[in-house]
Subunit: 457 residues, 2 copies
């Protein structure tokens, strides 16, 4: 049987009025869409009509930015995605949740529940949650060390997968005649005793359609990439240039191979901010219009917090100070800080210019141009070892998504690079990834996460 042709994958990164921090100030924007079910339903449906693989919600259990700056309240992802599951039928539903500030039993249960009620469309973006702000909402004075957070995350995944495997796929027999609903011998304890967790199990929900939710990850630090190589099936990443994307892509596939996984079982999805115009000039003007709406009083404070410097040391029309704290001294958003500093120095940006670029894409690559130009760039990345698909982060929502869906997607479909219909029903099927085997059902120990090869589903 011939190998299935390699095609693109698209995830829509939902973010109320758009990823540009000033998008809520545009004349047509609904500035309370962050709390609106209807606004989220619309975005999910547009993405589903365009045959996107999935939608995605970021999250952190803390009020992340100054509430003045932009819409800052957010609905909790598993709850919001459950509502969106009812409003859609095929698109995948990926929610962020923290391994540092949740208990494995509760979180494994919620994702299994979402997977059941969506018919196998749940995905979990696994984060370890940097920052003392979140820590202080959970009884801590400061965040756990970077390394300790990843150690806990590893054990968290170990517990969660044990719980998701605690019911065999054939445990429920529902035999009315004998009065036996499930086979007790096919429902097993988790029996986990580790450094961070002791969890008896079994889970109180049977194994879900996908076995496990799709496991997604986005950390780009050394610990983050090692974690992704071990666990992630889809990886979001912020890479500002083609060359950096290619390097990240090759590195991650190599790391996955090094731990014995099929490199094709890890789908790499760089984030891009498409800004689409009828002409390139129109697209650039939309970009500039947004940057002019950024309120520097908030952006300066946020930048200073990210860089861990006193805000008074930053001047809008000067470059960054030279004596910033070293990377090793910084816990938390490790690689993001490095990326920002490197970028500002390489392009000799003033603080004001840096704020403009961060406000638009937050370090992700902005593709500004006509629909054909954007499609060409996507194809170029895809065919040159930089991406298996993209995490689409429109600067303005819903208009930026509508433009991408109606103008860019058809071009890629015509070129045979993107699906015109869903072939499967589950999120894993959209990404061409296998359903994990249950460790108890074949005696093979921990199941392998891997890619579906043609003819073997």
């Amino acid at each position: 049987m011939p190998a299935r042709p390699r095609t693109l994958h698209f995830n829509l990164f939902l973010h109320d009025t758009g990823h540009h921090e000033a998008s809520w100030r545009l004349p047509g924007a609904d500035p309370t869409s962050n709390l609106s079910l209807a606004a989220h339903q619309h975005l999910a449906r547009v993405a589903e009509d365009a045959k996107f693989d999935s939608i995605f919600l970021a999250d952190s259990p803390v009020l992340w930015s100054d509430p003045g700056r932009r819409p800052s309240g957010k609905l909790e992802p598993t709850v919001l995605l459950a509502a969106l599951a009812v409003s859609t039928s095929r698109i995948g539903l990926i929610g962020t949740a923290s391994t540092s500030y949740n208990e494995p039993y509760n979180l494994a249960r919620r994702f299994a529940s979402l997977d059941h009620l969506s018919g196998g469309r749940a995905g979990w973006n696994i984060v370890t949650t940097a920052g003392e702000g979140a820590a202080r909402n959970f009884g801590l004075d400061d965040q756990p060390l970077h390394r300790a957070r990843y150690e806990r995350a590893d054990e968290f995944l170990d517990v969660a997968t044990k719980l998701w495997d605690s019911w065999s796929d054939d445990a429920v027999v529902a035999d009315k005649a004998s009065g036996v609903h499930a086979l007790g011998s096919h429902v097993r304890p988790a029996g986990h005793e580790g450094e961070f967790f002791r969890v008896a199990g079994p889970l109180n929900v049977p194994r879900s359609p996908q076995g496990y939710p799709l496991l997604v990850q986005a950390g780009s630090s050394e610990d983050g990439k090692e974690f992704a190589a071990r666990w992630a099936e889809a990886v979001f990443t912020a890479q500002p240039t083609l060359e950096e994307s290619q390097a990240f892509y090759a590195d991650l596939k190599r790391r996955a191979g090094a731990v014995g996984r099929d490199p094709d079982g890890v789908v790499v999805l760089p984030g891009i901010v498409p800004v689409i115009g009828e002409t390139e000039a129109e697209a650039r003007e939309l970009d500039a219009q947004l940057d002019r709406l950024i309120a520097p009083q908030y952006a300066l404070t946020t930048l200073a917090r990210t860089l861990k410097v006193d805000p008074h040391r930053l001047s809008l029309d000067e470059p960054l100070p030279l004596d910033l704290p070293d990377e090793d001294e910084i816990e938390g958003a490790k690689s993001r800080r490095t990326l920002i500093v490197d970028w500002a120095r390489r392009d000799r940006l003033t603080v004001r210019e840096l704020i403009g670029k961060l406000g638009g894409g937050r370090g992700h690559r902005t593709f500004t141009g006509t629909a054909v130009q954007v499609a060409d760039t996507i194809q170029h990345y895809f065919e040159n070892g930089a991406a298996d698909g993209f995490n689409i982060m429109p600067a303005v929502l819903p208009s930026g998504l509508e433009a991408f869906a109606s103008q860019v997607v058809p071009i890629l479909q015509e070129r045979g690079l993107f699906r015109t219909e869903y072939e499967g029903t589950t999120l894993r099927e959209h990404y061409g990834l296998a359903r994990p085997r249950n460790r108890h059902d074949d005696g093979a120990g921990v199941p392998e996460l891997g890619r579906v090869t043609a003819g073997v589903a």
Copy 2:
């Protein structure tokens, strides 16, 4: 303005194929409805068409019973209710969550999110979660002591209400011209430092339509009743007779008054299991049919666990042993155990007979008869100081709900005892309860939970 006439309130207690443990074995039952979104949507819509105040999901973070006995896997309530919010428009959505095995920040966030996306229809049934099974899923060897669980629950509610009040109702201004989305001075830390929790806040979601979700509680122990008097706005209770319902009702209203609350601000809802037939004989035969389907091998084990005795000490055709452990030695399901033992001894039941009665109503009152008989009993309770409404627990679902909705509800509507249309849009409005004031918005300290009086909403 004349006082609003006092009318009944109905909550539907959802429970897959019904509250009778053998209901899944009936010929028409869908034995996997526990995991079916469609089955839950149908039940929610029937209840909404009948103008019920709310639907309700019980929960515990543990596999509660032998998986052979009946459908035992359950979808997590906040996730399932979010999906049902999309499938309904007016009915309230009450979910159970544990104060012992959750973090206040996460849970306050999820209920606020559910309240936002349902337009003010969220309710939280607050439980402290008895049993070592749940404890062992969260790193403990045994459950915390009964008293300690309630002390933590009290502090949990203190933290949660601080978080729900952390955004003033008018904090979001969304001023596009000035670029200010929310007023920083109207978003305040929680600043909680207590025995069980330290939580900085603020919450990362603005104050929700109801301010707080409706606060519901069902513990009937001494600690549970004191907790209900302090916090609960609706109380579920299992009372096997009219006299016991009257005593509970009077006691709870007195306790609420004793802590300075309006007794009418606590709605008391005894659980009833209606079994409706064309004739009384038909109803009784349905009851008996269900009892014959109970598989004693599972029920005996469950009863022994509840009573904390060795299962081998229970014989199906003998009464309970006389030397059961004293109440004081039992942590956990305290009042439920007392109720069961008292009932078995008073009615001189054999273990088999006791199992039959527990399998049907689990200690709740079964109303068996024609629709008129059931309506008469409801009215009698309501007009004689035993109930403000009922927690409806059909033995068989959906048929028992459909019978109640189509036969009993119209009789009560005709008698002017139950609404024929929703008057409000929020869950609190259905129950005639006020929206809590924000402690920061009027300088009055902790807001009073209370009943809406006529003309003052």
